[in-house]
């Protein structure tokens, strides 16, 4: 197994000079995911719809890296309004189920795409 592997998932937007994820040994570093479709358009105005999209994309990226949400060890959640936290909790519960990753959630003054209200990145471990 090579030590470093870049992962690009079909249908993901190319917003910057980054991959969707990079595997380093047994760890997978998932790039910050924005609620943006392949064409670069926002996937909804509502933070819940945006979060649904972002976590679905996280699942697709993890799948491409041969991981699942249960393998996530850490997530970072960036919100433009920290009061949105309770609204996205049900999505996090649905996605992670019995697994609980480590997590940091903070408010930020802006995200890379105008209108985006949430960005999520993650670190996962490849299952044995």
């Amino acid at each position: 197994m090579t030590a470093r592997e870049q992962i690009r998932v079909p249908g993901r937007p190319e917003l910057a000079h980054s991959a969707d994820a990079v595997r380093a040994g047994e760890l997978v570093f998932v790039a910050g995911i924005l609620p943006v479709d392949e064409g670069g358009g926002l996937t909804g105005d509502d933070v819940v719809a945006q979060a649904e999209f972002v976590f679905d994309e996280l699942g697709r990226i993890l799948d491409a890296a041969e991981c699942s949400p249960a393998d996530v060890v850490k997530v970072s959640v960036f919100l433009t309004d920290v009061d949105d936290r309770p609204r996205i909790n049900p999505i996090r519960e649905r996605v992670f189920g019995a697994a609980r990753p480590a997590s940091t959630l903070v408010e930020v003054s802006g995200l890379a795409v105008s209108g985006a209200r949430i960005e999520v990145d993650a670190v996962a471990v490849r299952p044995a």
Partner: protein, 129 residues
């Protein structure tokens, strides 16, 4: 590679769907820690120094749960609601880490998840062999 979750007795219940730390192999990923007591109440009032001391006390407990100490910390990320507080919390960092110097990122954010919190710190540590 192994994955193990840590929920630490005596620390406030996580406010969302997460746990205090997760170990992946020899690395321990510690959630962002806020200055709250076991009941989730803010500690230190509006004093960022007292808040930072509480954060590190909570961090000490999380690290210990996985057999780690501050000297095992590889990276910290510090979120402040006022970047000008940085010099005020530096002595606390020096006191806590002593001769150890972790890699570090420090940024200002508009708000943290706990109202009144002025500091939040996450870290990654290496679990000693």
């Amino acid at each position: 590679m192994s994955r193990e979750e840590y929920r630490v007795d005596g620390l406030a219940e996580p406010i969302s769907h997460f746990t205090d730390a997760v170990r992946a192999g020899d690395l321990l990923f510690v959630s962002g820690i806020v200055p709250v007591d076991a009941g989730g109440n803010l500690v230190g009032g509006s004093d960022v120094v007292l808040q930072t001391r509480q954060v590190f006390e909570n961090m000490r407990a999380v690290l210990a749960a996985a057999g780690c100490r501050f000297e095992d910390v590889a990276k910290v990320v510090i979120f402040l609601t006022d970047i000008d507080d940085r010099p005020r919390i530096n002595p606390v960092r020096q006191e806590v880490f002593g001769a150890t110097r972790p890699a570090s990122t420090l940024v200002e954010v508009p708000r943290l998840a706990v109202e009144g919190a002025k500091v939040e710190i996450e870290c990654v540590a290496v679990v000693p062999a």
